[in-house]
Structures are given as structure tokens and as C-alpha cells.
Amino acid sequence: MSGLTRREFLGSSAAAAAAAAATSGGLLVGCTSAPAAESSVPGGAALGPWIQITPDGRVLVWADKVEMGQGTMTGYATLVGEELDLDPARIEMIHPGVDARFGFQNTGGSDSLASSWLPLRESAAKARARLEVAAANRLGVSRDELSVDDGRVVHAGSGRSLGFGELANEAAALAEPRDVVLKSPDQFRFIGRERPRVDAAPKVRGAAKYGLDVRVPGMRHAAIVRPPRRGDRVERFDAAAVLGMPGVTDVFEISSGVAIVATGTWQARRAAAALPITFARGEGPRPDSVEIRREQDRLLSEESGRAARDEGDVEDALASSEQRLDVRYFTPHQAHAAMEPLNCTIIPQSDRVDVHLGTQGPTAAQDIAAHILGRSREDVFVHTAFLGGGFGRRVFPDVVVECAEVVKHTNAPIQLVWSREDDTGHDFYRPATGHRFRAGLAADGAITAWDHTLVAPSLIPSMGEDIAGAFGPEWMRGFLNAAGGGLAKVLPRLVGPIMALEGASDQPYAAGSVRVASVLHDPGVRVGIWRSVGHSNNGFVVESFVDELAHAAGDDPLEFRRGRLSEHPRHLACLALVENKANWGAPAPGRHQGVAVYESFGTVVAHVAEVSVAGSRIRVERVTAAVDCGRAVNPDIVRAQIEGGTNFGLTAALKSAVTFRDGAVVESNFHDYAMLRMNEAPEIEVHIIESDAAPSGVGEPGTPGIAAAVANAVFAATGKRLRELPLRLDA
């Protein structure tokens, strides 16, 4: 219901103005008299930054962390509903525009619920306190004689009650209390309960609006033809050859390629395919996956890297070990492949610009559009639609740059839609990485030395180069301005090898000496953040290598882990739970098990994968997972996210990789960049550890460990250790 809310809200708030605009030939969306995007609702009384209540009693909550499938809207509604004692299903969720009251708006790092757990509940509790005081004043009773029930403040003694809507204005006029007592867990009615998603209903009726679904009278559709190789430039193109095609209205160059504008998406796309165009070779490197792999291998042989962790003397310990292992792992580039191809719709008017898109970072979108279109930021209104998947891709605003450039040229409402080929070929890819592990084991199986060197690029130079190159300096300025204070928070995660090291430098296993080091190697691929980021690679390599140690020690892989995690009770609890639920050690006939346990974003997940192998074919039959994410605000959404994260990781484990050849991406669409499908999806069972701790994220932690669990099961089945993704037995 709440998913529709935004539309209904737009409809109601702007209805009169829109009707006027429509009859006068104006625009239906973003009509001139509309207030600042979706930052307020007419007549709504603001009770803190997130909550507004209308006179007719609607409770609206702004989801400043966007809904991209991870369940943020349901989580927000649950936290607010809990403190207001209001059924979360009755709360209407809205994506805000860019709004100072939310600071730097960016959704990622699996922190939406973790970061709002206290502030949002406090804000709701303060709203409730003000509603109660307003009611006490009105009824002439003391506040502690009042209770709240289903959107009303009730005075049980007299049987009188007042609706939230009747009280909202008076409540908003009261000073916000400084301190407030939150509900204690034993008072929770909604938190911790299985509850339906608030955005499910519109999503099963085709009514949920994604960026791609924006429709404005007079809107035209754009497609971009880009050089297939990053750094190459458009040399010449023959606009006349396609300008005669039905529906095509404009053909012109923008910073990233050639834009084709037409009356329909398909007409633009057809002309893009037909456009005669040549590209000039750029100066930059031409990455090639075979060479990247070779170079990583060389670096692992020759460089010891910069140590991020250095405890004890690894070389000494290795020398005196009973057994020594020295192995290498490699992971390829991956694309995000969100189901909704990137898109952006910009509607320019004389006094305002409306930008519609599904984005993880609306602040950057606003600043970029303002910059390119020469408007002030205050005149640019970003409308965040539902995201048809994000996974880190929708943090990057390149599609806004392109769309704004097309609008600058045409001064018309434009919807730019990327093709799947654009999406696969022009991503900010998960980096390919190389890893060398050396370890020693004592006669009793203790790990005497753990030495992990990894080769990976940093995310910043790659982004910086694009910023300076393809998108022009405005992009950089825009992004930095938009990031403002928030950048200070974001930058450390983006800089240097930090992200490549997450999960590696803090690997949890007890060892006599530990060294974890990184070698920076940038092959010139545009890289970015991909669901679980550095963890997505390190979950595979660390948890596979531990498995190798277990087998070398002649120990059961789960027992071996348990023996070296005594300082990590949450890992131990997850292992114990998954051991029990998966029937560890007793797989179904013809099946083999592998285990992994891995912490990311404050959440620990243990996976047991049960696989069968026929010839070279690996089939994952069943996955059992145990998760400790602190208190589960909605256990069903926790399970859904671990299920989804696991399947996401399985695609990378089993199905696909992005390959560079002479600078261009070989894969283009789902026929050669294949996704896990229904007939390959395992049965997944997720079990949640009971916890009183504050919630940690669940959007990403399902992904990192599963590739290792599968590889470890394949080893159990075949005795073959697969050290490269995607896992291939015929290699």
C-alpha cells in the first residue's frame, strides 16, 4: 500500500495544479506549483525530520534510505509504527527528494536499519510524546492517564479520544522533548515479528513506479552510442543516415558518445543500432583479462606488498612449521546486472528542473543536473523512484550526466534508457583480484603462520579518471560538492586498498603469526562497489583457504574452524546452528557438503552448501544458512535478504564473469553474462540467531561466503580444489 503512496500523494498534492497544467498544455509531473519535490505533504504537520501527519490522520514517513529491494521501507515503517503503536501497514512510505534535513543522502553499506535503529525510533517516540501532550492539553487531563491505540490518543477514564490527525498541528507547535524513553524489547509489538512487506502490493500489480516508468506528455526518448572501449573517442558519425528514420528527432554528440533522441524508446534504440560511427583510439590502457591475470600472478610472485596487518614473524613461523601451503586464488570482474537497466528522466522548465530516477545517491544527482543545466541546486528537484535493483551500481550518477547533457541540447523532457548491452559493457565493475596465501600448520593442526597477499586496484583512481575524462570536470565538482561533509565518511572506504582488504586483514582465525598485505594494481578498468564490495572476493578466498588448511590438518572443516574461532562467539554460534540445521556430516545420498562462516557489515553468516556433481556439472541442491544480525527487526526480511544475497553470490560463483579483451567487454547481455535461473536455484533455508544486540545489516552479508561453501563442497565431492571464479570443473 505504501508503495503506491507516493503516487497517490503526488496525485493528491499536485492534483489541482496538474489538472491546470494539463489543460494549459503544461507538464503533468513536477508541475510548477508543486512544493519542493516530495519533502512535505499539504497540510502535513512535521513531527521531526521523518514523520508527518495530515489532518485526516495519514501518517507519512520519509525513507531517506531508498528502497531497492532490501526492505528499507518495511523496516522504517516497523520502527516508527512500534513507537507510535500504529500498525506499520497503515504508514505511508515516501522517498524524499534531496532534503537538507537528511544530510548527505546515500544508501549503501547495509546500514539503512543499523543507522536508523535509534534515531528513527527516538524521533517517533518524540512525536508520540508531543501527540500525547497535545491531547492532555485538549482534554484537560494529565499525560500519564493517556494511552495510544491505533492512531488515536485515548483517555480510558472518560472514554474520550482524539485522532493523531486532530492533534498533529498542536503537537507540531510544541517543543520537541529533549529526552524520551524508548519502548523496551518486552513491549515490542511489531519489531521482531514476521510481517508482510509494505511495498509488496503495488509490486505485484505492476503499479510500483520505477524510474523507467515516468511518463510525461511530450517526453522524448534517448539512447546513447558509446565507444566500446573506455578512453576511446567518437571520431565521426553520420547523423543524416538515421535522422530520416521514423521517430528520430535529434542526433548529436555528448561527452560519453552520440545521443539519439526519438519519439519512442525503440525508435531511439533502432537508430542507435543503425548509426554509422567510428571511434578514435584513446591514450589509456586497454585492459585484457588474460593479461590482468598474468600480471596479478607476476605481482604475487615478486611483491610482498604493503602490510595492513603484521603480527609475529611469518617467515620464521613458516620455516619451523610441520606443513606449509602456498596457493593462489583469482576472482574476475563482475557486472551488477540490476534487472532495471539504468535510466534517468529530466524535465526542464523555465523555473525548475525535475529529475526522476532510481538512485542510491540523490544528492549527487541534484548537483550534477544543476551544474550541467546551469541551474541553482534549489531549482532542481530529484524524485527518487523505486529502484529495480541497486547492488552498488546506482551509487554512480553517470546516467544523470548523460541525460542532463541531452536535455541541455534539446531543452525538452527526456527519458534516457540504457540497453542491457550498455549496462553490461559500461559498468563500474567489481574488481578482479589475485591472492597468494602461504600458511603453516603445526603437528597438532594449529595455524602457525597466515600470510595473505592480495593484488587489487583502488576504486578512486578509476573513478577519478572517468571524472576527469569521460564526464568532464563538472562531474567531479558535482560529486564532491554533493558529497559535502558526507564525503569525509565515504572517502576512507573508497580510497586505497582498504575496501579490497575488508575481510582479509581482519580474518578471524587464530594463528601464531599473521601478515596481510596488498599490492595496488590498476589495469585501467572502471571499478566500483558491488554487493558486499571487498568481502565478495575475500569471502571466497579466505573461506576456501581455511578449508584447505582443515583438510591438510586432516580435520573436519567445521571442527577445524571451530577450533580457531574461540575468540569469536558469534561465529561459533552461527557454526553450531548451521551444523545442526544442515545435518552437517550427513548429506543426502549423492550430495556433498561445504561450509563457510564469514562476517561483513557487522553481521555473521554461516553457509552450508550441499552440492551434487555429475561430470563437470556442479549443481547446488540446498543451502542452509545461519545468521547473526543482532535483533531481527523483521525476521522474514532478514531471511529474504540472505536468500537473495546467497543467490546473487551463486551467480558469481557458478555462472558468469566479465571478460576484457583489448579494452572492451566481451559479454553483452544475459545470453553470455548469464544469471542464476529458477531451475538452478537451490532450496535455501535461513535460520536466525536470537539476539538483543542492535541490528546490523542484511542486504549484503548473504553474498560473500556462498562461493566458498560451494567450492568447499565441490572439493568434498571431487577432491579438486577450485581456486578461481566462476567455479569450473572442466578447467
Binding site: 531497492m68 529491494g69 532490501q70 526492505g71 508482510p196 512487506r197 511495498d199 509488496a200 502490493a201 503495488p202 509490486k203 505485484v204 500489480r205 505492476g206 503499479a207 510500483a208 513506479k209 520505477y210 523507467l212 516508468d213 511518463r215 526518448h221 519512442g264 524508446t265 525503440w266 534504440r269 540490476a338 534487472m339 532495471e340 537497466p341 523505486f386 529502484l387 529495480g388 535493483g389 541497486g390 547492488f391 534508457v417 540497453s419 542491457r420 522474514d636 526480511i637 529474504a640 535478504q641 536468500e643 537473495g644 544475497g645 546467497t646 543467490n647 546473487f648 551463486l650 547481455n669 544475459f670 545470453h671 544469471m675 542464476l676 535461473r677 529458477m678 531451475n679 536455484a681 535455501i684
Partner: protein, 158 residues
């Protein structure tokens, strides 16, 4: 050329190029946006609609082939959005990002239409053309079984 067909039970006619894919006719010409674009080459199923009750990929189906036939999109699956599949989908919280789900539901509706009690293998066969990048496959499978059960229960009652 003018092409006349039924869209969710209503007669419509369009004056468009005959090769225009049904997907874009529905989205760009007729303004129904529940049907999604995912790949454009028949690989993902996001654009699935029914043509005379059978599932087709809207991105590969020229509008000319809809002439005189009945097209059903997610918006027309049930007048009140209360098809057994839609109810089961909500009950089991199937959607995550939700983008693929219109196509999933139209494929599932075609399956249930032809086979009211599908086995897991039937589901694999009917649903493997629909990609869900959010990985909701297990729930889709469970929801199809649940919808079949809802239909049985309601038929049993009536």
C-alpha cells in the same frame, strides 16, 4: 499501419510501424508501465505478457502479430489485483526490488492456467526464462504452489 487488438479486455487500435515490439507499444504508446524492459533479446522475461492466454516475450513480439488478438498485461491479470498468484506473492513477501515480478507473475499465470497443480519440475520448465537478479526464486516457487492451493480451496468452497 493500424493494428487493432484487445488490451486487458478493452479494444484498442494503434497506428504504428508493424515491427514495433509489443513491449514498447504497451509502454510508450499505450502508457501501461507494469510490463518491464530487461534485456530486449528474449533472455530475461521481464517483458512477459499473455497473447491469447499464452506467455510471450513482449520485446520480441511485433505489434503486428497482436492484430485481432487479446493481450493481457500485469495490469489486467485481475480487475482488483487479487489474483490468487498476487495474493500468494504478497502473503509470502516474494518481491524484493520487484522489477522482475510483473513478468514472473504473467509466466506463472500462464503456467497455472494450463496446469492447476504444477510440480517443481513444471515450475522449473515454465519459469526458467524469467530472471530475478534479487534471487527470489525460492519464494516464487513456494508462492506458485500456494496460489494453486488458494484456487483449490476457493473452488472447494464454492
Amino acid at each position: 499501419m493500424t493494428i487493432a487488438f484487445k488490451l486487458n479486455g478493452e479494444a484498442v487500435s494503434l497506428d504504428v510501424e508493424p515491427e514495433l515490439p509489443l513491449l514498447w507499444a504497451i509502454r510508450d504508446e499505450l502508457g501501461l508501465t507494469g510490463t518491464k524492459f530487461g534485456c530486449g533479446i528474449g533472455q530475461c522475461g521481464a517483458c512477459t505478457v499473455q497473447l491469447d492466454g499464452r506467455p510471450v516475450r513482449g520485446c520480441l513480439t511485433p505489434i503486428s502479430s497482436a492484430e485481432g488478438r487479446a493481450v493481457r498485461t500485469i495490469e489486467g491479470l485481475d480487475p482488483n489485483g487479487r489474483h490468487a498468484l498476487q495474493r500468494a506473492w504478497v502473503e509470502l513477501s516474494v518481491p524484493q526490488c520487484g522489477y522482475c515480478q510483473s513478468g514472473q507473475l504473467m509466466s506463472a499465470a500462464s503456467l497455472l492456467g494450463a496446469n492447476p497443480e504444477p510440480s517443481d519440475l513444471d515450475i522449473d520448465a515454465a519459469m526458467s526464462g524469467n530472471i530475478c537478479r534479487c534471487g527470489t526464486y525460492g519464494r516464487i516457487r513456494a508462492a506458485i504452489h500456494r496460489a494453486a492451493e488458494i484456487v483449490r480451496e476457493e473452488e472447494g468452497v464454492s
